[in-house]
Amino acid sequence: MKHKVLLDSQKIDIVLHRLACQLLEKHIDFSNTVLLGLQPRGVYLSHRIEKILKEKYGISSLLHGKLDITFFRDDFRRSDKIITAQETNLDFSIENKSVVLIDDVLFTGRSVRAALTAIDTFGRPKEVELLILIDRRFSRLFPIYPDYIGVHVDSIENNKVKVEWKENEQKDAVYLIE
């Protein structure tokens, strides 16, 4: 298997700052906005974005949660892979809030579809936006498109995109595995 570096840690840092600025442009003081990281790997990204917004742009109060979609997935009993649930932490109301759903890679769109159903169980948000670090744009199977995109990657279906975060894997990097 060949690992090609798509983004190194410096480039990831630049992209994250750009994404934070794009969010800032739309949401200004974040008083009615919720950042919601998708378990497991979207949570790393949402924490990074939150950190930049707080430390660089002085956003002091920011609602931030994590969402697990295991029980909302459409491949239960269809896949040989063992799916293990993880923690959901959303201890505030999302009623009438702007929710920014955050994940590392957008591939078929199934996870995001499941996340939209899961969000519904917490109430009725004003709007839901999608922030993605890597958009594999020609692999979509659902009519789902991100509002904030780190980078586009055009790859064939058999390729894999792997995002590593220093919190978990020593360094930040995005690889294309061929």
Binding site: F71, R77, A85, T121, F122, G123
Partner: protein
């Protein structure tokens, strides 16, 4: 944590491993969060049909299983022996197979005879969940009791847990003993000797006949009711005398000099095993047990259903 149970049915705690217990408890934590959301349902079991087959009376367990099934979006059918063809002489296997012919995927069964769930798991092609078999086991109750205790006490390992009351006729006692021993707790049984089965010592539990000594010893007490519907012999002089010797009062709890946790699987015979002021006191986590029962049963059904037949690819 790996996400698969070692078993295909829930027949009793004695068939589970420590890993199974940890997985069920962890999954139940997630479901407990879900059942506290404004919309308490997940679509996970939308293609599963579950039959609740109850040959014995039940309020809490039946409602709890049914609610758990509905929260998971399963289709549910309910069967109770009274008013059914069982009264016309239909055998157990025929009854269950006829229900399964209606394309049922999972059976939750309660029966007065010990061993019925095991028997069914050997003779019918379905996933079986034991909701209480005679005086044998009531595994979902054992799990929810331990889960509730863990919530309150933290790790149960080394904790002192008393089981007080009618052990002889209780299926809750056996499932509790198995679960608590697996989790590393010290378990003491407290009852008149006539209400303690002889084999119990082989399970590694202590036996005591003195209520005050037991309550002073324990961190938590699971109080079981006197099962008058099952008692055929004169095992104690009268209910009044039992209540005087083994009934737990708030004044007794307050005199212990420490706070213990009080559990009861219900239904409570107020004034017999527990006085009202004790049952409604801050010691009691009886309503937490009921809430946790739904989450535990959701976890059991979710984990078991993930194991049976996969959809065609």
């Amino acid at each position: 944590m790996e996400g698969q149970l070692s078993v295909n049915h829930l027949l009793g705690i004695k068939y589970l491993t420590n890993k199974d217990l940890a997985l069920i408890f962890k999954t139940a934590e997630y479901f407990k969060e879900i059942i506290n959301r404004p919309i308490k349902k997940v679509p996970t079991l939308r293609d599963i049909t579950i039959a609740n087959i109850f040959f014995e009376n039940s309020t809490r367990t039946k409602l709890s299983f049914e609610l758990a099934e509905k929260r998971l979006n399963a289709d549910v059918i309910n069967f109770s022996a009274s008013g059914s063809s069982v009264k016309k002489g239909e055998s157990l296997i025929d009854t269950v197979n006829n229900i399964l012919a209606m394309k049922v995927d999972m059976v939750v069964i309660r029966h007065s005879s010990p061993g019925v769930p095991v028997f069914l798991s050997n003779h019918v092609n379905s996933c079986i969940i034991n909701a209480g078999d005679g005086t044998n086991e009531h595994p979902s109750q054992g799990l929810l009791d331990a889960f509730s205790l863990q919530e309150r006490l933290g790790d149960i390992k080394g904790k002192k847990i008393a089981i007080i009351g009618d052990i002889l006729h209780s299926r809750v006692a056996l499932s509790n003993i198995y679960t608590l021993k697996m989790l590393g707790a010290e378990v003491k049984i407290c009852a008149p000797l006539s209400l303690i089965p002889k084999h119990l010592k082989t399970l590694g539990v202590e036996i005591d006949t003195d209520l005050h000594r037991t309550l002073s010893w324990c961190d938590a007490a699971n109080v079981l009711r006197i099962q008058q519907e099952r008692i055929k012999d004169n095992l104690f002089p009268s209910v009044r005398e039992y209540a005087a010797a083994y009934g737990i009062k708030l004044s007794t709890l307050n005199s212990l000099g420490k706070k213990i946790v009080l559990l009861h699987p219900g239904p409570i015979n107020r004034g017999v095993e527990l006085t009202s002021d004790a049952a409604d006191s801050e010691h009691a986590i009886i309503l937490d047990q009921v809430e946790n029962g739904v989450a535990i049963r959701m976890a059991i059904m979710y984990l078991l259903s993930s194991k049976f037949k996969k959809h065609e690819k």
